[in-house]
Amino acid sequence: MTTLTLAKALNEGLRRSMEADSKVLVMGEDVGKLGGVFRVTDGLQKDFGEDRVIDTPLAESGIIGTAIGLALRGYRPVCEIQFDGFVFPAADQIITQLAKMPLRSLGHVKLPVVIRIPCGGGIGAVEHHSESPEAYFTHTAGLRVVACSNPADAYSMIQDAVRIDDPIIFFEPKRRYWDKAEVDLSAPGLPLDRARVVRQGDDVTLLAYGPMVKTCLEAAAAEEGRSIEVIDVRSLNPLDSGVLAESVRRTGRCVVVHEAPVFNGYGAELAARLTEMCFYHLEAPILRVGGFSTPYPPSRLEDHYLPDLDRVLDAVDRVFAY
């Protein structure tokens, strides 16, 4: 066991992936000498060379578009989008090309492209640096979407993501980059498409992913009266709905938590789907706690915008008030 930050765990995972397969490339803005603005690719260019760790022109559509071409040539590019809010210039390449080309080819083409996106707020940043764009991608068939929440998962999930032949949007909770935990570098991780019960409980189920898993665990620990189960969704698409439904049926109550705006956010899918799956077991409607239906606010207001322990527990109270 080694103690690693989440950022370093990703770095280690990428390193292993690159060692295991010479076709794995890392590309993006400032990923080389600088090692990325969050240092997730630190040292990789030094060790694997400029041909495998590519500082690209400043153009996100170009990053994903050329990554598709590289994948067509047999490479496995891992692209870094510098911040969540800068993925949109690449939206067309992701949505119309990356997600659809395997089908277009009737399966002749596989596009093992990983798109790493540091996401979420809470770091006091300026506009576009704190967003949670997952719903744009969970609604895009052909993509897998995953979110890691802790160092051990980060380490295993990034390696799985690189190994899998589908295009994957890989969300990294930027405000948790410096959180440390023990990581067993040789143990196999939970398969990429599985959810994990991270805390068992009987009275209510909290569903979260990425940065909000920690928040929910804190809320569960702080809550005195009720026994709270917390599930880390991990894979947003495909969704491991069986694990979630089992829990919700057992507790009869559920709150979904994410940072993205609630309106048509990923929580809507969780709520709608689990309501259908667990209707007769529900004591109350599934409630959603998330960002407001506004652009991410200037950072002096982000503590209001982001779900925190209090807002999660308030929702727990409300779900019991039914």
Binding site: S61, G74, Q97
Partner: protein, 355 residues
């Protein structure tokens, strides 16, 4: 468009061979006859497809009429291991790469979205979103560089496409990485109803100068010139000399697609003027004048074309509709829980009707 210092032409509309200092090409009679045959056959497939669409057998068709020389010239310039990335109109290039026309018909009929194996033919899937494929081509070429292979990549796009951000980004990436890629722009003067002036105020081949690599304009209705210019550009790419932009100056003789009505936006006179520059007629004239082919040859090619047309039609009509379950296939490379659930639900829903 007449021959000019800035336009590479090796065969005039009248079928006269002309010399160009930078692009010489020696073609045997056999080679010229073979190019002629290609031109005639792809035009025939195209005509058949238009007629199939008129009869409701295809949803839509994008005709290459008038652009045969640009496509056959460039397509035949490729080495077997070279890779091509097309738009949705490169039926002539597809032909050169050995893609069965049935795939193209299947796409426009709505049976699939392309479906051939790009690796088998070194020919990418048709790309409908304007310009997106240019970046794929550069990425592929970057892969070639890493493989240390002697392989060139060629990517096709139209005059309208030059306005897209992606196309310009691809110029940047190719230039900065010195990627072995040829940008082949078929300037057919129109992007649906919009004439060239809506996309640029200078000749398109000059765009390359702003990115630091060579651009050349070639008579796109001259199959010899298209062959020569593309051959050189591909050779340069393979030799590590980086990208070239080729502007094939040509004309869309037909409608944008079968859904389009060009009489709403362009003059008949323009079309008539371009008819005189037909890419096939000039090769035929050249073959005749130089006694490189006799009437029997032309008859044979026509017959072959008719046969191909008939076959194509028949096989198109025989194309089976896909099974509903195909909706769920090939979306992911392996099992996907949500999708399987939907598939099973839909299967049992359908089964309900059968009962």
């Amino acid at each position: 468009m007449t021959a000019s210092p800035e336009l590479v032409q090796l065969l005039t509309p009248e079928g006269e061979r002309v010399e160009h200092p930078d692009y010489d090409i020696e073609l045997t009679a056999e080679e010229v006859r073979s190019l002629y045959r290609d031109l005639v056959l792809v035009r025939r497939v195209d005509l058949e497809a238009v007629s199939l669409q008129r009869q409701g057998e295809l949803g839509i068709w994008a005709s290459l009429l008038g652009q045969e020389a640009a496509q056959i010239g460039s397509g035949r310039a490729m080495a077997e291991t070279d890779m091509a990335f097309p738009t949705y109109r490169e039926h002539g290039v597809a032909w050169c790469r050995g893609v069965d026309p049935l795939y193209l018909l299947g796409l426009f009929r709505g049976v699939h979205n392309g479906g051939w194996d790009p690796y088998e033919h070194n020919f990418g899937l048709y790309t409908i979103v304007i310009g997106a494929q240019t970046l794929h081509a550069v990425g592929y070429a970057m892969g070639v560089q890493r493989d240390g292979a002697e392989t060139a990549t060629i990517v096709y796009f139209g005059d309208g496409a030059t306005s897209q951000g992606d196309v310009n980004e691809s110029f940047i990436w190719a230039s900065v990485t010195n990627a072995p890629v040829v940008f082949f722009c078929q300037n057919n003067q129109w992007a649906i109803s919009e004439p060239l002036e809506k996309q640029t105020r200078i000749p398109l081949y000059k765009r390359a100068s702003g990115f630091g690599f060579p651009g050349v304009r070639v008579d796109g209705n001259d199959v010899f010139a298209c062959l020569a210019v593309t051959r050189k550009a591909l050779a340069d790419a393979r030799a590590g000399q980086g990208p070239t932009l080729v502007e094939a100056f040509t004309y869309r003789m037909g409608a944008h697609t079968t859904s389009d009505d060009p009489t709403r936006y362009r003059m008949a006179a323009e079309l008539e003027a371009w008819k005189l520059k037909d890419p096939i007629e000039r090769v035929k004239a050249y073959l005749f004048k130089n006694q490189l082919a006799d009437q029997a040859f032309f008859d044979k090619v026509d017959e072959e074309a008719d046969q191909l047309g008939r076959d194509t039609r028949r096989r198109c009509l025989e194309l089976p509709d896909p099974e509903p379950v195909a909706i769920f296939e090939n979306v992911y490379s392996g099992p996907h829980a949500t999708l399987e659930e939907e598939r099973d639900q839909y299967a049992s829903y359908l089964a309900g009707f059968a009962e």
